[in-house]
Amino acid sequence: MKILVCISHVPDTTSKINFTDNDTKFDTSGVQFVINPNDEFGLTRAMWFKEKQGASVDVVTVGGKDTEPTIRKALAIGADTAIRVDTEALDGFQVAKELAKVAKDGEYDLVIAGRESIDYNGGMVPGMMAKMMNANFVNTCVSLDIDGDKATAVREIDGGKEKITTTFPLVIGGQKGLVEESDLKIPNMRGIMMARKKPLNVVEPVAADTHTKAEIFRKPAPKGDVKLVDADNLDKLIDLLHNEAKAI
């Protein structure tokens, strides 16, 4: 089983979000970048397939040299090889096309990506990749097992779950549930040392075109002050919710 895990290099979840260049670019100054959390759950599940079922696990990202510490971290967690497609990630379509090329060329059976990145929240890369590769696709995947040439997955739906069986090649849009938060691995010193010796292959992009462009960003307008209601006067709260907010 050859597994490819797609890694997006994103600002840490606690980052303050600001923009520069007349609000056209994300301000990276002072921001810590991490493996996209949805991707990290998938990477950790891939490590399980490596340890228990002898799978090989490669990781890939699309981005400039600045993304290398993030994929090095994936190597330190245990991936075998890292691939960096050397181009700036501009939109979901372009990234999907670059990743689909890597996945096809490498003849991977299973591709695990996150259901969305926590920066642009496009939620389109895994599905687009799957269609471009002619692979099966399971989104919002919260459980994945492999038995020979069959996969069993659980997909989260609105208000429940559904159980799915399918075959390879398969693309997963993963999220928490693939593994638990407590299963996530912090790289140890040995892992970090080994990661330095593991291959990080820089490949040329196919120069895919883009379909969309992120133009101007803006932050939500500042909110008015909270209206405090005394704990002994909950009738007032109900009155506000009914007459002012019209929410009940």
Binding site: T14, G92, D158, G159, G160, E162, V226, A231
Partner: protein, 322 residues
């Protein structure tokens, strides 16, 4: 040239989001001076879409589509978009719509803007405002392709009644085995409980509840309000509540009309995930909790005292106002 809109149904009945995406499609149709065509799959009550601006309904009845299948459903919409020569396709952001939209956009060679919150600006390179950075920011995204797919965030546009007389046309689609690479073996859905995605009201609780045994009052409050229950990340990480209830940046987004947070301090990741909700209420005994800065209404008090009282008062209110 019609605007195509995918109007979702469940058990043969249109979902509320179907009327919202239809309203939004009508908004775009007015900007582009064209009509609205809806596609509905295995739904019976489709005529009602005419009240929300839909001119034509392509009604698909096909046993192969009795269970949701993203690739097959995307194929239906692809064939409908080609038949109608649609330049814009609108969908909701339900779990199913998010699943099929990327497939559809590859089929149509269309640019896809997800999480849209406003009507597009047509003359400005077809620019759509969407949320990014998990609601910590908005982004104007322009779409350069001939055909465009837009995913409308739930509750972002609202329902707009717009009477037109919709014609219903049976629509037959060609599906191949290739569209069914995924088999749905079983669906486990809590049908008597509203889902977080569909809920008007969400009652959410955090570590302040001290333990999983104290959730009865949260569920009762949710019952009284016809609300979905949700929880903070630590609560789901500790296994007090299922992951499916976790809302926030790495959990589910909430765009409810009313979000009530009980014993949740308001970590930045949590606030981001729920910020699209219109009215936020916080109940917390710590007046310094960051949630008070994000909320519209707040009660400083012990949840174990406030919530039971609130349940009683809401029951009285409901009895008097029903």
């Amino acid at each position: 040239m019609s605007i195509l809109v995918y109007t979702e149904s469940e058990n043969g009945k249109l979902k509320k989001t179907a009327f919202e995406v239809a309203s939004y499609a009508k908004g775009i149709a007015e900007l582009m001076n064209t009509s609205v065509t809806a596609v509905s799959i295995n739904a019976s009550d489709v005529e009602e879409l005419g009240n929300y601006g839909v001119d034509k309904i392509l009604k698909v009845d096909n046993d192969k589509l009795s269970k949701f299948n993203a690739d097959a459903y995307a194929e239906v919409l692809t064939q409908a978009a080609k038949k109608e020569e649609s330049k814009v396709v609108v969908l909701s952001q339900s779990a199913n719509a998010k699943y099929l939209a990327p497939i559809l956009s590859v089929n149509l060679d269309a640019g896809y803007a997800s999480n849209a919150v406003k009507l597009p600006i047509i003359e400005d390179n077809f620019t759509v405002e969407r949320t990014a950075f998990t609601n910590k920011a908005f982004n104007q995204t322009s779409i350069s392709t001939d055909v465009k797919v837009i995913g409308l965030s739930n509750n972002a546009y609202g329902l707009k009644e717009n009477e037109s007389s919709a014609t219903v046309e049976d629509f037959t689609v060609e599906l191949s085995d290739d569209n069914f690479g995924i088999q749905v073996e079983s669906v486990d859905k809590n049908t008597d409980k509203v889902s977080i995605a569909d809920a008007e009201v969400v009652v959410s609780a955090g570590r302040g509840m001290k333990g999983p045994d104290n959730w009865d009052m949260i569920e009762e409050l949710a019952d009284v309000l016809g609300a979905a229950t949700a929880c903070s990340k630590p609560v789901s990480d500790m296994g007090w509540r299922p992951h499916s209830e976790h809302v926030g940046q790495t959990g589910k987004p909430v765009a409810a009309n009313l979000y009530i947070a009980i014993g949740i301090s308001g970590a930045i990741q949590h606030l981001a995930g729920i910020s699209a909700s219109k009215n936020k209420v916080v109940i917390n005994n710590d007046p310094e909790a960051p949630f008070f800065k994000a909320a519209d209404y707040g009660v400083v008090g012990d949840a174990f005292e406030v919530v039971p009282q609130l349940i009683e008062k809401l029951k009285e209110f409901k009895a008097n106002n029903s």
